[in-house]
């Protein structure tokens, strides 16, 4: 099966800056694909390469098997939901949504109907007569989505689509985007710096750093089996155990990751590995308590259910965890 988007050794340099540095990527048709990374990691440039706003300095890009280099954005059947929505301020909502059809020469009546359908799909029926300035942030986001989807793109690109929304709205939109993607069957590629968002929505995630993909895999892979220290740190702030700490456990390796929620306090079964340390700090985070423990210079963070008793600061405690929850990393 041809990939929806294929990158072969793609690089994009801006002067001396290697924004994207030799990326290989294959996104399957109908996939919900996330590009995760801190700002400046190259994820947005990758998105812009797909949209056609940037051209690769090096390498080859295909969209559904067709070469994309040198093809202007307006000839790509790929649409973008912009981070700032980029709604046309001088046009009504209906004209905004119908814009893509208008420039392609679709008749007035046909495009009005299509735009109204698209607005109904994003739950904004009857909003067509308003201007972008009269809508809230969440509503504008839906309009931007409708404006892209009305063109029936082969790939929909979303650039930090939920970044500007507040928490509640963000969670709601996550679910809606997910179900919209399922029902339309369109390939979604979205860029985010929020690991929670990537983990909860995507079928697969590419974690970016310094213009390179650090790890590509399912959310579970990324979360439980980080391959690099960067991924372990960035995706859910894992503990990274040093080789000295690992030696105490009888393991010989450079580094290993350990999820904060995989650690128990005080219990000690034979099959569990144990470490002892001093409690440095405790903070209450709602559903969980975050406890920071110092084990001979190795900081370990524990995420314990709030229902559990909280150890006192300065107390000596024993940490226990399963060998299976620990993931030895290929590189430190």
């Amino acid at each position: 099966m041809t990939a929806a988007v294929l990158f072969q050794k793609v690089s994009r340099h801006f002067g001396n800056v290697r924004a994207v540095d030799g990326v290989d990527l294959s996104i399957a048709e109908g996939e919900f694909f996330a590009m995760l990374g801190p700002s400046g990691s190259g994820k947005t440039t990758c998105l812009r390469l797909m949209a056609g706003f940037e051209q690769p300095t090096d390498g080859h890009i295909e969209i559904f098997g067709e070469t994309a280099e040198g093809v202007p954005p307006y000839r790509r059947n790929v649409n973008t939901v912009f981070q700032d929505y980029a709604l046309f301020p001088h046009l009504s909502i209906l004209d905004n949504v119908a814009y893509g059809l208008m420039v392609k020469g679709v008749g007035r009546e046909e495009r009005r109907k299509a735009a109204e359908d698209a607005l109904a799909m994003v739950k904004l029926p009857g909003y067509g007569v308003r201007k972008p300035g009269q809508l809230s942030g969440g509503q504008r986001q839906r309009v931007a989505l409708a404006r892209a989807l009305v063109n029936r793109p082969k790939v929909l690109l979303l650039d930090e689509p939920l970044g500007a929304l507040d928490l509640k709205l963000r969670e709601q939109m996550q679910e809606e985007l997910k179900s919209l993607q399922k029902s339309l069957g369109i390939t979604f590629v979205f860029v985010t710096h929020d690991q929670g968002e990537a983990l909860s929505m995507a079928d697969r995630i590419a974690v970016f750093n310094n213009g390179k993909i650090q790890q590509l895999g399912t959310p579970e892979d990324i979360y439980k089996r980080p391959q690099t220290r960067f991924v372990a740190d960035f995706v859910g702030s894992s503990n990274v155990l040093s080789s000295a700490t690992l030696a105490k456990l009888g393991i010989s390796a450079g580094a290993a990751s350990l999820r904060p929620e995989a650690i128990q306090i005080g219990t000690s079964w034979a099959e569990l590995l144990t470490l002892s340390g001093t409690v440095v700090a405790c903070s209450f985070l709602g559903a969980v308590n975050r406890i920071t423990v110092d084990c001979d210079g190795q900081r370990i963070i524990i995420s314990a259910p709030a229902a559990m008793p909280v150890p006192e600061q300065g107390a000596n405690i024993t940490l226990a965890f399963s060998r299976n929850d620990m993931h030895v990393m290929e590189q430190a």
């Binding site: 706003f53 954005p73 063109n151």
Partner: protein, 270 residues
């Protein structure tokens, strides 16, 4: 206003108010003098008021000729400035290239340097190139310093037509020309109109460069300048001065309302 008003220091209020009065009273006096019956001097208060000078002015062919020439020059210079200023603003704001600052400086130079330098430079260039003075030499000079007005207005608006609007348009399938017609032009239109109005007002009023680039033709400001130095019929000058004030106010007010509306439209996209 409510609470702020009371906290405004009185001395500041007086200073600001006096400053504004200083700016406006002389212009108001022009209106009064247009009705005076006094012919030979600038006597205040006017000994009497009359409307007769409006009729006299109306029947003066030299005033009409000067007025028509000024309108003609200002229209052509504005049209040229609109094209050049918009192109320049588009280049500077939509693309990144080496030497943008040089371009900005080049555009601003004709008004940053005293008008007399522009005037004498053009005059000596014309005489070196054996170009006879005509309406076109006046237009040439005016267009040169009008570019900056259009440029400033357009650049400010281009900055607000964020790059992502143009990308959004192309993303949705519009080529460069469609994007220009459907997105860029509607968004910068009012700014261009305002810039054009200001350019027109600037050209309509220009006298310093014109004294160097005009030959026998006299624009309305040149006509006024002659009256200022060698007054022939003061009441006619009074009336012309009042009309000029009224005529220049209109484009200024229009430009103000146009850019203000534009701000609201552009701001709505945020």
């Amino acid at each position: 206003m409510r609470s702020d008003r009371s906290s405004t220091p009185l001395s500041l209020k007086i200073a600001a108010g006096a400053g504004l009065l200083f700016l406006h009273v002389p212009i108001l006096l022009i209106f009064l003098y247009a009705f005076t019956t006094e012919e030979k001097s600038y006597q205040f208060p006017p000994p009497g008021l009359t409307l007769q000078w409006f009729a006299v002015t109306w029947n003066r062919p030299d005033v009409w000729e000067a007025l028509l020439l000024s309108i003609k020059v200002a229209s052509i210079a504005t049209a040229i400035a609109l094209v050049l200023g918009t192109l320049c603003a588009a280049a500077v704001s939509q693309t990144r290239f080496f030497g943008r600052e040089v371009i900005s400086l080049l555009v601003i130079l004709p008004i940053a340097l005293p008008g007399i330098i522009t005037g004498i430079a053009l005059r000596s260039a014309f005489s070196m190139a054996d170009i006879p003075f005509s309406v076109w030499t006046i237009v040439l000079g005016h267009a040169t310093f009008c570019v900056v007005v259009v440029y400033n207005n357009a650049v400010a608006r281009f900055r607000r037509v964020s790059g992502s609007l143009i990308e959004a348009s192309m993303d949705l399938g519009a080529d460069g020309f469609q994007t220009f017609r459907h997105v860029i032009l509607p968004n910068i239109g009012t700014a261009l109109l305002a810039g054009g109005m200001l350019a027109f007002a600037l050209s309509f009023d220009e006298v310093i460069v014109t004294t160097f680039t005009g030959g026998q033709q006299s624009t309305l400001p040149i006509w006024m300048l002659e009256e200022l130095i060698r007054p022939r019929q003061r009441p006619v000058t009074n009336v012309v001065a009042m009309v000029v004030v009224l005529v220049t106010f209109l484009p200024i007010l229009a430009a103000y309302y146009l850019t203000r509306e534009g701000d609201q439209i552009a701001g709505a996209g945020k």
